[in-house]
């Protein structure tokens, strides 16, 4: 169970991490320490948090193969793989992991956000919006949801201003 929490926190960190470039910040209270049940998944989480996505992906795969994670842990680990690949700018690799995670747990709002971001990278804004709406229905006030909504709106909504003089 602790590794599930860890993985969920990781998902949060992931999105915050990839959002750093647009001015987000990492919440320092969610520091992760080692020594949890699945050592590979714990180390993978830490690696991804530190921005070492390749190492995080490698360790997550080890954690999935060398241990027999619970379904919850597995869903979280797949979500982390999705997050890490998206953070690397590999949405085509990320989306299948998000799909697998959703097949196990369809009510994890972070997976929806991760997949929405992956779709955003592929410029599939309609799909990204659908996933983000799903995430928002589960966690409407999440900072990541609001942040990604803004990014999608900026790219997908064309602004215009109509002026009219009355005299």
């Amino acid at each position: 169970m602790r590794s599930v929490n860890l993985a969920c926190i990781l998902s949060l960190f992931f999105f915050l991490d990839i959002s750093n470039s647009i001015g987000q910040f990492v919440d320092p209270q969610k520091t992760i320490v080692g020594g949890l049940g699945n050592e590979f998944l714990s180390a993978a989480s830490f690696a991804i948090i530190m921005g070492q996505y390749d190492e995080g992906i490698r360790l997550t795969h080890l954690g999935l193969n060398r241990y027999r994670p619970s379904m919850g842990d597995r869903a979280a680990a797949l979500s982390n793989l999705c997050a890490a690949h998206a953070a690397k700018g590999e949405p085509d690799k990320a989306i299948p992991f998000c799909n697998d995670s959703m097949d196990i747990n369809g009510r994890n709002w972070r997976v929806f956000v991760n997949r929405a971001y992956s779709y955003y990278l592929k410029n599939m804004l309609s799909e990204a919006t659908n996933d983000l709406d799903s995430a928002a229905s589960l966690r409407p006030d999440a900072r990541q949801v609001i942040q990604l909504r803004g990014m999608i709106n900026e790219r997908g909504l064309l602004p215009r201003v109509i002026m009219e003089d009355h005299q």
Partner: protein, 229 residues
Amino acid sequence: MIISLFLSSFSIAQNIRSSKAEIINPLGAWNCIIYGSPDLGNENYSFSFASDYSVLVSKNEFEEERFWQNISPWIINDKELFFTDSRMARDFRGDLNRSSLGGDWRTSNSVGGWWCTRLDEEVDHSFYNNDDNQKVGSIIPLIPEVMITPAYPRQAHREGLEGSAVICFEVLPNGEIINPEFLELSDEIFRTSSLDTLMSTKFKPWGHLVDLESRPACRSYMYRLDYAY
């Protein structure tokens, strides 16, 4: 007669002042913009409010003669001015708490707004109330010389917010804009961009062609977002 007229005028003015020191005294002539009519578009009228509670109206048109017509009595009720243009069944309501006379109007099937600046002109109501006497006048259209399109506020864009703003203002004879006043503002987020853009506007100077009075005008901004996907 003149004395009684003067006294009644003074009495009305006193009543208005005593009810609230800052409210507008509508007595006199006003140069007004009436906007929002789907059929008529923007209209430029002059109104004259007399102490005998009559209202004269005159349409200002470029190089056209204008006629003062008596349309209805006016009343003030709780800092609001009411009168009706009986020719078009259009009911006007003015907010006397504003810095300049203006408000909204409505007919059976449409609504709109109006906004005025003082007109330094004396109108003999008794003369125009009696028959179809006319007064000649003309108005030169205001032509923007410098006009900038506002930038869509980034926060509104990110939040997917649409909105609108209507600002009325005076145009000096040299074409500069003064005394802007928001008549409508759907969201505070649109205030700065609307106002900044308006104040960057300059109209072609027109004062040397007619007189040196400022003229009223309004501008509406509609902020819209279109889906690109």
